[in-house]
């Protein structure tokens, strides 16, 4: 299990060292902190999407949720002057509610996750655009949310809060996923929903919960993003982010067939994607190649990992054949 994450870590370090060798600024504190900030921004939602992927589902509406929840948050905070704690709470609740709707459609009405969240992708952005009449929302001259701004975009000991928050969430989610009963059920449901039901696991609740967590994390993320970009243009904000999140989760070892994945892997997947984006700029590679680099590295990364896994399994098989061999020598006499 852990071999996968190790491979990813090695890949990240190798890429990091090469980049730093070419341009030492890559390893400068400023750059690393910027990078940490990006990782924090994108990591949260990768964790949420990763959980959904482990159930055997997929969550495509994240980018549109960012647009819709971002618009709502700004509207509450700036136009309705609602006070930041309440605005924040409503935004989070909104994310949870959207997640719950997805979960219920998937579990109760037996719709395919791809379909449900594809409709979400179209609907939420549509609503956001319609609600704002396609105009960019910003903080304008709003005031009174300095605490929130510091929480969401500040730094402590020069470490961005987004990153700190990601680490906290990742730690909690790692315990939930790998140590708790809920986590175990999640893996069980992802592998075989029917068998899980036969084992008395409340599969619908387990799956719905994964979507709710993803929605809530999307809610938090959307506030982080609002403070990062300081504005939300409903038609563009968060476009394609669902793909980044899925890519990070898949790179980190989540299988879209369900039942596989780890929080560490998802976080490392996010790190790799963000390092790639960063190095394009730091090395002065043409921006147009940004996506190409990302695509190529994901492809090669997944491919190499798979080949390594296969070879390892082969080795394991041979080893166990040898072990059987030995065991047999031992028991042959005893059996007679």
């Amino acid at each position: 299990m852990l071999k996968k994450e190790l491979g990813l870590l090695v890949l990240i370090l190798v890429i990091g060292f090469i980049t730093a060798a070419i341009n030492p600024q890559f390893a400068s504190q400023v750059n690393l902190m910027n990078l940490a900030n990006q990782i924090g921004l994108f990591g949260l939602i990768s964790i949420g999407v990763g959980l959904v992927i482990i159930t055997g589902g997929v969550e495509l509406s994240v980018g549109s949720m960012f647009a819709l929840l971002g618009v709502i948050f700004l509207d509450l905070l700036v136009n309705h002057e609602l006070g930041w704690p309440l605005s924040l709470l409503i935004t989070l609740a909104g994310g949870s509610a959207l997640g719950a709707i997805h979960g219920l459609l998937v579990t109760r009405l037996k719709m395919q996750p791809f379909v449900v969240t594809l409709c979400g992708l179209l609907l939420y952005r549509g609503i956001a655009r319609w609600y704002t009449a396609d105009s960019t929302q910003g903080f304008g001259y709003g005031e009174g949310y300095e605490t929130l701004e510091w929480l969401m975009s500040g730094r402590t000991y020069n470490i961005p809060h987004t990153f700190i928050f990601l680490i906290i969430v990742a730690a909690i989610m790692a315990v939930v996923l790998h140590r708790s009963v809920y986590g175990r059920y999640l893996f069980a449901v992802g592998k075989s929903e029917e068998a899980a039901r036969f084992s008395g696991i409340p599969t619908n609740a387990v799956i719905t919960m994964a979507y709710v967590i993803a929605g809530t994390l999307a809610g938090i993320s959307s506030v982080f993003f609002v403070f990062y970009t300081q504005s939300v243009s409903p038609s563009a904000h968060g476009n394609f982010y669902e793909l980044y999140a899925i890519a990070a989760a898949v790179l980190g070892g989540c299988s879209l067939r369900g039942g596989e994945g780890s929080i560490l892997g998802i976080v490392l997947g996010t790190v790799l994607l963000q390092v790639l984006q960063n190095l394009v700029n730091i090395l002065g590679i043409p921006s147009s190649l940004n996506f190409a680099v990302m695509g190529a590295v994901i492809l090669l990364g997944v491919l190499t990992d798979q080949q390594l896994q296969r070879r390892r399994q082969h080795r394991l098989a041979t080893a166990s054949a040898d072990a059987r061999e030995l065991a047999k020598e031992g028991t042959a006499g005893a059996a007679v």
């Binding site: 600024q25 504005s231 243009s233 700029n281 921006s287 147009s288």
Partner: protein, 296 residues
């Protein structure tokens, strides 16, 4: 129905943006002055020639009387534009398609606007320096023209454009691009934003890096934050267009054109609405004007 007796005029834009909200106010003012017309506003879902073409086709099917459009790919949309021109009155606005049979272009000369920005750059960096340009995508005509204007203006000076970083319309990426630039070139002298959201993101990133005042920023368009940055002194200048006039004038003139009036069409069939440089000196009144326009 009443709506059907009225003639329909359509204002078609290229992509959702705030810029067009101001233009919409212009069309709304025109609507008040043109009670016999029905003015509609179309925003394609994505920035693509295909999406825009289908809107034009649908409008023709609806029997529209006049269209004023900002074509996404002017050079290559001649055919559909001519098709529209053969069945309805056609103006271009914001971006011209000179090869087509459009009756009139109302809008900015983006190369000239670029030149204005270039002059501001020269003013801000009289002794020259290194500059970086940020934009959504370089395959958009206005991005190319603005850059061309800038290059024309700074030709021969000591200002060097290091690179153009694109973000594909993603503002998070736009800000990250600026952050990474500040890391890679800690001593960079100037940042230029070509699209409306680029300048605010430059401003955000520079502020977050604590480099306000140590480098110069020149941008385009009238985003709220851009104007705030100019008031703060963090941004040197922005070159703004007058989208309100695009909206208002193209509707008024379209109606005239449909009624047979050709007198307002100049020989070169271009009505250039001049761009304006906003800097510390005039930002206050301009902000007030914009806020007024955007009021619902």
């Amino acid at each position: 129905t009443v709506a059907q007796e009225k003639k329909t005029l359509a204002f078609v834009v290229n992509v959702p943006a705030d810029f067009w909200q101001i233009a919409r106010r212009g069309t709304e003012k025109a609507q008040k002055e043109l009670p016999n017309y029905n003015i509609e506003f179309y925003i394609p879902g994505e920035m693509s020639a295909a999406a825009q073409k289908r809107i034009m086709e649908d409008l023709l099917a609806k029997g529209v009387a006049g269209i004023s459009i900002s074509p996404v790919n002017p050079d290559n949309s001649t055919e559909i534009l001519n098709q529209v021109a053969s069945k309805a009155a056609l103006f271009t606005q914001d971006a011209d398609a000179p090869k087509s049979n459009r009756a009139l272009y109302i809008g900015t000369d983006n190369v000239a606007a670029g030149r204005q920005a270039g002059e501001q750059m020269l003013k801000s960096l009289p002794n020259g320096g290194k500059a970086m340009v940020f934009v959504g995508t370089m395959d958009a005509a206005n991005a190319r023209e603005r850059l061309q204007g800038i290059k024309e203006a700074i030709a021969g000076s000591k200002i060097e454009i290091l690179d153009v970083r694109t973000d594909g319309g993603d503002q998070t990426k736009a800000k990250a691009n600026v952050e990474d630039t500040l890391t890679k070139y800690p001593n960079i002298d100037m940042l230029v934003g070509l699209w409306a959201y680029n300048t605010p993101q430059i401003y955000n990133a520079v502020k977050a890096a604590g480099k306000e005042g140590t480098l110069k920023i020149v941008g385009f368009d009238e985003d709220q934050q851009t104007l705030k940055g100019i008031s703060d002194g963090a941004i040197d200048a922005t070159v703004v267009q007058q989208p309100y006039e695009f909206g208002y004038q193209s509707m008024i003139y379209l109606a005239k054109y449909i009624e047979g009036d050709r007198s307002f069409i100049p020989a070169d069939k271009q009505k250039i609405i001049p761009t304006q440089v906003i800097d510390k000196s005039n930002v206050k009144e301009f902000s007030a004007k914009v806020r007024d326009l955007l009021k619902k």
